[in-house]
């Protein structure tokens, strides 16, 4: 069986198997998922090891009229890196869930959905055509909906799932429209061919711009960019393993992947600049909002948004290599951070409020250590992997004349703030005195094999990945890559600012009184609230959908339907009845009258027919 077959079909077969087996025996679901996870990762590794030239398989899904809808497979360096991320982190995530989800009664459903999700991601990254890409894209949308609302008996996760689906769906319909437009105006759905045609300049410029922007709207939805990001934060209502897998490591990458896959197409228009600007703004919003969150996972969610945006900035300023290496590094260290946070949450009996922790470093030393590695990488401290890619992104932004200004500034601020918010989380979790003694006492040390081992593996990858940045970039882009650097000054600034931020936040949050003061200060309070609520974008979107879509447009439509359209129908029935009452006089019951009327009627009909013949 070839690797491609395994990657394409096993996740879905595995999902069914995990569900059926899991219904018989809870533990079997896990083992089915773990085995499939190993097989998928092994298949990806085999593809990587044997890689020489891109694999390309053409296949027609169906033909209607004269139009054929293709469903091909295309695996190049970019796909393989995405595959390794999806299946590798997916496997670790499944492994981690053994304990994390161990007490849940509905494991069959959980693992089935996770495998389905991984299958969607695989499909997305190995599809050759827009349509296969979209199928994977939507599968993931469905899987994330089901996984976020996994604990559906409570309102909050159910709401979060609904929100995630609708926000991402908003973007999806633009991709859906783009498929139709591509087929009509460009004549192909083949992603590789679209790039080639764009390079040759054989696609009309304005057409390319519109389609590229449409696809980018989809990416905005999926990758949590401004303004469709609030779902990403609320999605933290799902299990932490789901957050790590979907909202840290894989699904949110899909928006960036599609722009990267169509990079030449984007580069042929101004769409790339739009990407850069939206992303820079999102990076700024994410980083600033992450500073003030109280819930550990929300900090990570905002940080995900911010760093995905940095990867987007990398693409937007024209450097595929910088963007994709940052995406790759981020996937690993963010999965690490999410799962480490999950380990803490698990150890603390599902407490998520940062202010109730403290001093856990003594009890959870190893977890504190791996989380520090993840945090330092996120902060962009050398020699951890995050440093190199973030450096490359910022350097590319500063080199590009179009993005030297606002984009560079916002991205740099976002990059610098990383250390502040992640440092704050780490300090609040692991240092100082326990703020909730009872909770501290009850914290139990998690199992090494099931909880800590995956974290250690990811920490090692985070450490090692820094050494292979150029190789990875060359593998992904297929072109030689010289990593751009910002001059030493910035590195110094990073370390200095980082340390400063560490100290300041260390002082701030050890004494919570100061924070309380800020949040009660009449002027600072406004800022605090603004950041805490993610710039109120969610409120605006909710307000718009509730008051404009539902309470105005839909209500008006309903009113028109009832009081105008249906009223006319019912009114005409009433009118007819009234008419019949008047006509009752004609019902004399006398045969002669009827015969007369019949003759009259026939005459009328004949005249009508003659008139019509003439017409």
């Amino acid at each position: 069986m070839s690797s491609v077959t395994i990657l394409l079909f096993w996740p879905f077969i595995g999902a069914v198997a995990a569900f059926i087996l899991g219904k018989a025996n809870k533990k079997m679901a896990f083992w089915a998922a773990e085995i499939v996870g190993i097989a998928l990762f092994a298949a990806s590794l085999m593809l990587w090891i044997n890689y020489t030239v891109p694999i390309s398989i053409d296949y027609t899904w169906f033909t209607f009229g004269e139009t054929a809808l293709p469903f091909g497979i295309y695996i190049d360096g970019l796909s393989i890196v995405m595959l390794l991320i999806a299946t590798g982190l997916g496997l670790l995530d499944i492994h981690f869930a053994h304990d994390y989800m161990g007490e849940d009664n509905d494991q069959a459903r959980y693992y089935a959905k996770v495998l389905f999700f991984i299958g969607g991601m695989i499909l997305l990254v190995i599809a050759k055509d827009m349509i296969g890409m979209f199928v994977g894209w939507e599968f993931m949308g469905l899987a994330s909906y089901l996984l976020i609302s996994f604990w559906h008996t409570k309102s909050a996760p159910a709401n979060a799932g609904m929100q995630a689906f609708l926000y991402t769906r908003f973007g999806d319909v633009f991709i859906f429209a783009a498929i139709g437009l591509l087929l009509y105006f460009v004549g192909t759905l083949d992603l590789v061919e679209i790039n080639t045609m764009a390079k040759e300049g054989s696609i009309d410029h304005s057409v390319a711009l519109v389609i590229a922007l449409f696809i980018f709207v989809g990416a905005i939805g999926k990758s949590g960019q401004f303004p469709l990001y609030p779902w990403l934060m609320n999605a933290m209502e799902g299990p932490t393993t789901v957050s790590a897998l979907i909202h840290g490591a894989t699904m949110v990458n899909s928006g960036i992947y599609i722009v990267a896959r169509l990079f030449d197409f984007y580069a042929s228009t101004e769409a790339l600049l739009v990407v850069a600007n939206v992303a820079a703004l999102s990076a700024f919003i994410g980083a600033t909002s992450a500073l003030v969150q109280r819930e550990i996972k929300k900090v990570l969610a905002y940080s995900t948004m911010s760093h995905l945006s940095l990867a987007f900035v990398g693409l937007g300023v024209g450097s595929l290599a910088a963007g994709m290496t940052h995406l790759m590094n981020h996937a690993v260290f963010k999965a690490l951070l999410f799962l480490a946070a999950g380990a803490v949450i698990f150890a603390a009996h599902h407490t998520k409020d940062l202010w109730r922790f403290g001093g856990l470093g003594k009890k959870l030393t190893l977890i504190a250590a791996v989380m520090a590695i993840g945090g330092l990488s996120l902060s962009g401290i050398p020699p951890f992997s995050g440093f190199f890619s973030k450096d490359a992104v910022l350097a590319s932004a500063m080199v590009n004349p179009d993005t030297q200004g606002l984009v560079s500034v916002l991205a740099t601020i976002a990059g610098l703030l990383s250390i502040a918010y992640i440092g704050r989380v780490w300090l609040l979790l692991f240092t100082g005195k326990p703020r909730d003694e009872a909770l501290y006492e009850s914290v139990k040390k998690p199992s090494f094999l099931w909880i800590t081992l995956p974290l250690v593996i990811m920490a090692l990858i985070t450490l090692g990945l820094g050494l292979y940045q150029s190789e990875a970039a060359e593998f992904i882009t297929g072109e030689p890559y010289v990593q751009p650097h910002v001059d030493g000054l910035l590195i110094g600034l990073f370390i200095g600012l980082g340390l400063l931020a560490l100290i300041v936040f260390g002082l701030y949050y050890k004494g919570l009184k100061l924070t309380e003061k800020i949040s009660n200060h009449p002027f600072l309070k406004i800022f605090h609230q603004l950041l805490f609520n993610g710039y109120y974008v969610e409120y605006m979107i909710t307000w718009f959908s509730k008051n404009i879509i539902v309470a105005s447009v839909a209500k008006a439509a309903t009113w028109i339907d009832l009081h105008i359209i249906d009223a006319i129908v019912n009114g005409s029935v009433g009118l007819t009845q009234a008419l019949f009452k008047r006509l009752k006089v004609t019902q004399t019951g006398l045969i002669g009258d009827y015969a007369g009327m019949m003759v009259a009627g026939l005459a009328a009909l004949t005249i009508l027919m003659i008139l019509m013949e003439g017409a």
Partner: protein
């Protein structure tokens, strides 16, 4: 002669079965099931026997020479697909009605309906077509009026009158066709010249538009669908609406392609309004079955948009979406009816947390809903993408706005899931008993299977569509 019995057999059988088995109610559903299975088998035989192009003549019966009045039975791929769809749905409807009350009368009416519907799809003679077309209303009227919910009589009368008035337009058009061409058979009229194409076209279009239904002639549908028992809603949505679409394709497009192209813009605009207007109505609904009914109208708007392209691809997409709509909307109607039956309420606000009590039914509800909003892997996606592609080809880029229709359907469906399926269990749900008969559940499973099967492997339907429209002259 065999094919004639497929039509008149059930019509007589209905009376006989009712007379004989009135007191042995339990038997009637098996008779119905056997009959519908036989009809499905016969339809599939026809599918295999069809020539590559054009009609397969099954025979001429009941000559009245003076009027050139013949019951000509002939089928092409379009009719055969409709026959297969109708008989398959009748089987599934029978399974879904397994525990229906007053079975002898109920299934006799279903049997009667099956004969009439086969008549509609097999006759190309205008008069016979019209007779069968009207005949379908009779069992439907009683099925809604007797087995329906609280306001069943109002709904049944409204349904009957509304569609009957529309039929008058069709009858007038048929008369004009006969008067102007001297033929009564579609295949012959097609070759002849029509003197007043505009008048005939509009009469036919409006007549079939009511059945489809198209804005602003849709208001009979929510009443009829909501008041009808759930399996009859399936029949209404799956077969009766498809009669409208079939008539639209057969008489409006096939007969008058030039006029259709001329007035395509009106079809398109009405289709667009239907898709969006009904979508917004569905968003505002708190009544679960009405929500499904408006969703159904909205999707028929998409069918109208596809038909309005007057192109092979558009018609193929329309045929696919007609079938997809039947399989997708049916489980939604069935489950909406089931939830009302179990909770005693139509209001979504009274439900909530159903999945905790009825996980598998909920899963099918979510699957069908996902299909309705066009999720890949289901028939809904194929229908929407093919309609989008064919519409862009004919009308240009602006028609891509129909993509937004699937955003609206996502809005009302996902919100419905939130209110009905997920969330905390409501007191009503907690105290209700959610048992479902195995056979009725099996019908839901079959629907779900069909949605996924043809969603992943749509080619057979498109092959049939290609064959169906290959002999339509004048269609591009």
């Amino acid at each position: 002669m065999f094919y004639l019995t497929l039509i008149f057999g059930p019509l007589f059988l209905a009376v006989v079965v009712y007379a004989l088995f009135r007191n042995f109610e339990g038997v009637v559903k098996y008779i119905a099931l056997a009959l519908f299975a036989k009809m499905l088998a016969a339809s599939i035989e026809l599918y295999n026997a069809l020539p590559a192009e054009g009609y397969l003549k099954l025979g001429s019966f009941l000559h009245v020479e003076a009027f050139n009045y013949v019951l000509t039975l002939q089928v092409d791929m379009l009719s055969v697909v409709m026959l297969i769809l109708s008989s398959l749905l009748l089987i599934l409807v029978t399974l879904s009605s397994w525990t229906m009350k007053n079975q002898a009368a109920y299934f006799s009416l279903l049997i009667m309906f099956s004969g009439a519907i086969f008549g509609v799809f097999m006759s190309t003679n205008l008069i016979w077509f019209f007779i069968f077309w009207e005949l379908t209303l009779v069992p439907m009227f009683f099925l809604v009026g007797i087995w329906g919910a609280e306001q069943r009589v109002y709904a049944a009368v409204k349904f009957f009158l509304y569609t009957h008035v529309a039929s008058m337009l069709i009858l007038l058009a048929f008369y004009l066709l006969y008067a102007q061409t001297g033929f009564l058979d579609v295949t012959l009229i097609k070759e002849a010249a029509i003197a007043t194409p505009a008048l005939v076209w509009w009469l036919l279009f409006l007549g079939f538009a009511v059945k489809l239904p198209i804005f602003p002639f849709h208001t009979w549908l929510p009443d009829a669908h909501v008041q009808a028992p759930a399996p009859i809603s399936v029949l209404l949505a799956g077969v009766l609406l498809k009669m409208g679409a079939y008539g639209m394709i057969r008489f409006v497009i096939e007969l008058m392609p030039e006029s259709s192209r001329e007035y395509a813009i009106y079809m398109l605009i009405l289709g667009l309004i239907t898709a969006f207007f009904a979508g917004f109505l569905a968003i505002y609904q708190t009544h679960i079955k009405k929500m499904v009914a408006y969703s159904s109208i909205s999707h028929m708007g998409l069918v109208m948009i596809a038909i309005a392209t007057v192109s092979y691809e558009g018609l193929s997409a329309a045929l696919y979406e007609m079938i997809g709509h039947a399989f997708i909307i049916s489980p939604l109607f069935l489950i909406a009816g089931y939830l009302h039956h179990k909770t005693g309420s139509w209001q979504m606000g009274d439900m909530g947390g159903i999945v905790q009590r009825a996980p598998y039914v909920s899963a099918i509800f979510v699957l069908a809903g996902m299909a309705a909003l066009g999720l890949p892997g289901t028939m809904g996606f194929i229908g929407e993408i093919t309609i989008l592609i064919s519409a862009i080809k004919v009308n240009g880029a602006w028609i891509a706005v129909i993509a937004l229709a699937s955003l609206i359907s996502a809005g009302y469906l996902i919100w419905t899931f939130r209110r009905v399926i997920y969330g905390e269990m409501s007191p009503v749900v907690a105290s209700a008993d959610f048992k479902m008969h195995k056979i009725e559940f099996s019908a839901l499973v079959l629907f779900a299977g069909l949605i996924v099967l043809f969603g992943l492997y749509p080619q057979p339907i498109f092959d049939a569509a290609n064959q169906a429209f290959a002999h339509f002259g004048g269609v591009q």
